[in-house]
Amino acid sequence: MSDIVSSAASATSPIEPSAAVSGRALSPGRRTLRRFLRHRLALFGATVMGIMVLCAITAPIIAPYDPTAINLVNISQPPGRDHLLGTDAVGRDILSRALYGARISLSVGVVAVAIYLSIGFILGAVAGYTGGLTDSAIMRFTDVMMCFPTFVLILILVGIVGPNITNIMLVIGLFGWPGVARLVRGQVLQLREMDYVLAARAVGGSRPYVMSRHILPNVIGPLTVAGSLGIAGAILAEAGLSFLGLGVTQPTPSWGAMLNEARNPATLATEPWLWLTPGILISLAVLSANFIGDGLRDAFDVRSKAGH
């Protein structure tokens, strides 16, 4: 399969080439600039994400209006003094909706990724650790799942079980694991042969004990990287679903749902403030999660461990 390739693709940072040793001489100034910049990106991501999380938590306090309060006197107002970012077609305050929307979008991202990291870790660890037929069965299942375009599966299953926040989290969580399973299995295959793992098994350590005590701590790094990049993907998936009207439903605000309200060409053309705010927020959140993931990858130096 193309697993060799896909892990290489995901483990290669765009700033750092896969050939770690550059053939070219690098002036100290340039090298500093490079390190500085790389840290800056992760730092930028962490800062933006931190602010967003803070806004999401304190939304009930800092939001100037009730995000679902309909005010028919003030419909479709452009940004102004009363409504800093304007109002939508039924007079709801965009700023308040954006703040509350952060709660939905971010929590869907975190919960969905937590679900699929767990599934992926368990399947990958069991496959790698047990080997043999179990390994083959799990990995072929993974291969099959990887053939399906994830977004299409998510869309169909959400259509079947019905769109609401819980279902969205579960469905995104249900289909995200194959990549994680492969990553974990690759790591476990190497760890399994390490002397300290062999020693732990030799003195009679049970499988759950060895797994949680010796295997898990060693895959935390790659899992954290996969997790933060996964959050970026899950936020995008939720936004895409809600944008199509198959995600978080009215009147609950989510960034994707706010974009959905501005989807028809007339609104899109005449009331750009409706969709610019949520669009920029989604982009910033995903960008930050990607920056953080990239910074973590360098910090953990996943590349040198991730191969098969």
């Binding site: 399969m1 193309s2 390739v5 896909s6 693709a9 290669t12 765009p14 700033i15 080439p17 896969s18 050939a19 040793v21 550059s22 053939g23 070219r24 690098l26 990106l41 072929r140 299942f141 291969d143 099959v144 799942m145 990887m146 053939c147 399906f148 375009p149 994830t150 977004f151 299409v152 599966l153 869309l155 169909i156 299953l157 959400v158 259509g159 079947i160 995008l236 936004a239 895409g240 944008f243 199509l244 009207g245 198959l246 974009l259 501005a262 989807r263 060409p265 899109l268 053309a269 750009p272 969709w275 669009g279 989604i282 982009s283 995903v286 960008l287 990607n290 920056f291 990239d294 098969h308």
Partner: protein
């Protein structure tokens, strides 16, 4: 050769796996499987007793694994059931829309490969330059900004404000259909929106591949013997840097298919993405399942083609 054979041998198993997953989804979907499988025009003239007889005949009273085999027998013969909405066979409905989707997705992939590949090579040749950083960060944006947001910006700026391109649709009403200038004009915005994340992907990949090629020992040798930079690149780097890019074609396909659902919907592009989206909204389960099945098969075949091409162009690849 052995690699290719082993790779081919896996295909039937993966295909069976795909149909099993698909069948599980069918069983999850609400609705009567009898009405889903029978031509709806016949359905109206049948009594309840007759339907029960069909149910027995189709083996729907059998346990799920037996039903799966029966369903598979139909599916292999091209009977994926009938669309709830249009009463037409699912397979025909999908095949009808296939050219529109292949055109849109295919164009976006070609554009992405050319643009992303070129930018990545430039980035690698100017490693650590300001340009390199700008490109790398741009690639991050390309991967992070949702393509529907790109599409909305595109519509707002280029269709509404500048009026360079139409807002949506595939043809101007009244114009002839087919591969016309009018159609190409309609395709510019959706192709671009679909291509953006892929361009970013190709950029990252071709940059890394080019750097790998540049750092190879034979390149150092070529440079040591005094070959001009340009010649070194053309003869020793360029071709090697292209090889890994082959894999992106297969890897990016699931994303392209997912993206086409959103982009075709925004631009009312009458392809399979829009068909699938409508099918989800209308709870047209047979059609949804058919589309998922076809999409998975397409990804499987694309990966197969990718791996085989890769093995052919790079003799160093062997099955692990």
């Amino acid at each position: 050769m052995e690699y290719i054979l082993r790779r081919l041998a896996m295909v039937p198993f993966l295909l069976i796996g795909i149909t099993i997953i698909t069948y599980v989804m069918i069983s999850l979907a609400p609705g009567d499987p009898v009405t889903a499988l029978i031509n709806p025009e016949e359905l109206n003239v049948r009594s309840a007793e007759e339907l029960d007889a069909i149910r027995e005949e189709l083996g729907l009273n059998d346990p799920i694994p037996v039903r799966y085999v029966l369903w598979l027998k139909e599916a292999v013969q091209g009977n994926l059931g009938y669309s709830y909405q249009s009463d037409r066979p699912v397979l025909d409905t999908i095949l009808d829309r296939l050219p529109e989707t292949i055109f849109l997705s295919g164009s976006s992939m070609v554009v992405a490969m050319l643009v992303g590949g070129t930018l990545g090579i430039i980035s690698a040749r100017k490693q650590y330059s300001v340009l390199d950083y700008v490109f790398s960060i741009t690639a991050f944006f390309g991967l992070s900004v949702p393509n529907f947001f790109f599409a909305m910006i595109g519509i707002f700026v280029f269709a509404v404000k500048l009026e360079w391109f139409p807002v949506f649709g595939m043809y101007t009403p009244g114009e002839p259909t087919g591969l016309t200038l009018d159609m190409l004009h309609h395709a510019v915005l959706p192709v671009t929106a679909l291509a953006v994340p892929q361009i970013a992907e190709y950029m990252r990949y071709s940059r890394a591949a080019t750097l790998d090629a540049i750092n190879a020992e034979h390149v150092t040798t070529a440079r040591a013997k005094g070959l001009a930079d340009r010649a070194v690149f053309r003869r020793h780097v360029f071709r090697n840097s292209l090889i890994p890019m082959v894999t992106i074609v297969g890897l990016s396909l699931p994303g392209v298919i997912g993206g086409s659902f959103i982009i075709e919907t925004i631009f009312s592009w009458p392809g399979i993405g829009l068909l699938g989206y409508t099918a989800v909204l209308q709870r047209d389960y047979p059609l949804q399942i058919g589309i998922a099945l076809m999409a998975a098969a397409a990804v499987l075949l694309a990966n197969l083609a990718t791996d085989i091409t890769y093995a052919l162009v790079d003799p160093r690849i062997r099955y692990e």
